[in-house]
């Protein structure tokens, strides 16, 4: 049973719209992540956070931004969506150290 929640599950929007993908976890984890997943490809880290008010860009360049004002909440924002942003976005969290990740069910974004 998931303790990390992503909304919406599916989103279809037009080019140029601003969107926010929500991610919340109830486990009190300090570390949170956003991954981008495309079919047949490895997951790519686009943002991560060590804790409140700490955010870093990941390995894959992304036009999105994130914020971490509360431990449990790690939203991702696209100011102006483009078709190239069409993908699945997975949020994850973990405890400190080398702990495994807990993933949400993902948001599948389609930009038309």
């Amino acid at each position: 049973e998931a303790d990390i929640y992503q909304t919406p599950r599916y989103l279809v929007i037009g080019t140029g719209k601003k969107i926010t993908l929500e991610c919340s976890q109830t486990m009190g984890h300090d570390k949170m992540y956003w991954y981008q997943q495309d079919p047949g490809m490895e997951l790519h880290l686009i943002h991560y956070s060590y804790g409140v008010n700490s955010t870093e860009k990941g390995d894959l360049s992304s036009e999105s931004t994130v914020s971490r004002i509360r431990t449990e909440h790690f939203p991702l924002t696209l100011e102006s969506a483009r078709p190239s942003h069409t993908s699945q976005y997975l949020c994850a969290s973990s405890e400190v150290g080398d702990s495994p990740l807990h993933f949400g069910n993902g948001t599948r974004l389609t930009v038309t």
Partner: protein, 113 residues
């Protein structure tokens, strides 16, 4: 530097037969290795984890994996496939205490009745 290669993009087995999903890794450090499973329209779920303890690691749902340093491999096995095992499987490597994981491209497992 670290990398992961999953040697098969698709594996098809019959129900009740053994499963073998192959993973080779490269790491400049003593790695931590993971297998995750992703069922359709779901997030990833941890199957098992290796962190320099026993080389044979047992996971959930009857899966296990063996760490072979000499072969830089971490293959996932199960003696008898079940229909519910049909999913995508990801091999993952990380450097201990490093926040960043490196994922393989995934292996899609199909289980035929």
């Amino acid at each position: 530097a670290q990398s992961v290669t999953q040697l098969d993009s698709h594996v098809s087995v019959s129900e009740g037969t053994p499963v073998l999903l192959r993973c080779n890794y490269s790491s400049s450090y003593s790695p931590s290795l993971f297998w995750y499973v992703q069922h359709p329209n779901k997030g990833l779920q941890l199957l098992l984890k290796y962190t320099s303890a026993a080389t044979l690691v047992k996971g959930i749902n009857g899966f296990e994996a063996e760490f072979k340093k000499s072969e830089t491999s971490f293959h996932l096995t199960k003696p008898s496939a079940h229909m519910s095992d049909a999913a995508e499987y990801f091999c993952v490597v990380s450097r201990s205490s490093n926040y960043k994981l490196t994922f393989g491209k995934g292996t899609l497992l199909t289980v035929n009745p």
